[in-house]
């Protein structure tokens, strides 16, 4: 059931990123909601199930972003595993920490994307585009994370009323 919820959220994120958000972000830089979802999954799911799910979501993302199949599968899986490893040592319920995770996740995603494209694909000037976009991407991701965090607090009561099977797994400190 949780996997279904994650898939629905991923579909919603893609519709927002490809159709509904672009008119509000004329320079093409919009919040990366898929990355935020992966960070959220990294804080909630164990590495194996979560890793498979995130890799699949990466391939889904690749269908709607860029022309390099498997790129986001690799990037999002790496981000997920690092977040997963850190989740055991951090208080993941504080807002500043969420911001740190989103900021770090965005920079890591940018660095890994740049590495994968510059070293493996034929796109010489990609790094200039990436470096130009990255600060604005970071800001928009942080803003989106803040808004989602606030919305999440508001909807906490509604989520609490859902049947136990539909509840997302609570934040845990799994063994490393």
């Amino acid at each position: 059931m949780r996997v279904l919820i994650y898939l629905v959220l991923a579909g919603l994120a893609l519709v927002l990123q490809t159709v509904l958000l672009p008119p509000f972000f004329p320079n093409g830089i919009k919040p990366d909601l898929m990355l935020l979802l992966v960070i959220w999954i990294g804080l909630r799911e164990p590495p194996w199930q979560g890793g498979v799910l995130v890799y699949g979501l990466g391939w889904l993302y690749d269908s709607y972003a860029g022309i390099f199949p498997g790129l986001h599968g690799f990037v999002l899986l790496a981000v997920f595993l690092i977040i997963c490893g850190m989740a055991t040592r951090l208080n993941t319920e504080s807002l500043p920490l969420v911001w740190c995770l989103v900021g770090g996740g965005t920079l890591l995603q940018g660095a890994l994307t740049m590495f994968a494209i510059e070293f493996f694909a034929d796109a010489d000037q990609f790094w200039t585009v990436m470096l130009r976009c990255l600060p604005a991407q970071l800001l928009s991701n942080l803003l989106a994370a803040y808004l989602l965090y606030c919305a999440g607090l508001r909807f906490q009561k509604i989520v609490d009323r859902l049947p136990p099977g539909m509840m997302p797994r609570p934040l845990r400190r799994h063994e490393s």
Partner: protein
């Protein structure tokens, strides 16, 4: 050894998974120009959803523009709002008619078989420049075909499913188009820079001026000759460099794409 493995097992398995994913990505680059089955399936499933969302977006945007011009007339009475909403529908049709008329003009100027398509989605990531259209291989839209609008060249088809296709725009960093500076007939390669374009391999002695038009040269066989790509925005010549740095302003307004034209190959 066993103790070391037990201690670092999670890290090593995680690293192996990431490297495997990197290997899969690297192998996938060989099929970059073809639509893989995963992409085909998700584009096929997602196409109708994106199409519906795009229709809703265009409708709301049209009504919003007419009902609340500049977002400052929130005190309009209900009757006025209703009339404006009705007019919005008419104006939207007029604008669409105008855009299609311009596309038709392009078709008359360039007698080549083509199909018109509607833009239903943009790229999900901020650093890539692709769009999705509502025509696929059942309409004859296959990988490699050039895509234009009335203003000039947009890009080429890189993925195609039955009823939708993805277009790599010329402003994407992985896009390269063989071009000519129109007046001086200087050859070069136009590369995407995100929002702008750069003209590569223009020799430092080539007399390129700001405002010069740049068109496709027809070399490479993907884009037909003579399509407008952009205009020279700035030129920088280093004293000891071999090539000059030329920045181009795209002829197409990529921020407001709604209808496009896919050009078919000429059959001998």
């Amino acid at each position: 050894m066993w103790e070391w493995w037990k201690k670092n097992r999670s890290l090593l398995i995680g690293l192996a998974l990431v490297l495997t994913a990197l290997l899969c990505y690297s192998l996938g680059l060989r099929t970059e120009e073809r639509t893989g089955w995963i992409e085909g399936l998700s584009l096929r499933l997602g196409g109708p959803v994106l199409g519906t969302a795009a229709s809703a977006r265009y409708a709301v945007a049209g009504i919003w523009d007419a009902v609340i011009p500049g977002g400052s007339s929130l005190d309009l009475d209900a009757e006025s709002r209703r009339l404006r909403a009705e007019m919005a529908g008419v104006e939207e049709l007029q604008r669409e008619n105008e855009r299609l008329r311009r596309l038709l003009g392009f078709v008359e100027e360039h007698p080549r078989r083509s199909v018109a398509a509607r833009v239903i989605a943009e790229d999900a990531a901020s650093w890539f420049r692709t769009i999705e259209i509502d025509r696929g291989y059942e309409d004859g839209v296959v990988e490699g075909l050039p895509v234009v609008n009335a203003a000039g060249l947009l890009g080429r088809v890189v993925r195609s499913t039955a009823h939708s296709a993805r277009i790599l725009l010329i402003t994407d960093a992985s896009s390269a188009v063989a071009v000519l500076v129109q007046d001086e007939r200087i050859r070069g390669v136009c590369r995407g820079q995100g929002g702008t374009l750069a003209l590569d391999f223009a020799l430092v002695q080539d007399p390129i001026q700001i405002g010069d038009g740049v068109i496709t040269s027809g070399l490479g066989g993907v884009f037909p000759k003579g399509l407008v790509v952009g205009y020279v925005r700035s030129v920088h010549r280093e004293q000891f460099g071999l090539f000059q740095t030329v920045e181009l302003e795209p002829a197409v307004d990529f921020a407001h794409l709604e209808e496009v034209l896919v050009l078919f190959r000429e059959t001998p």
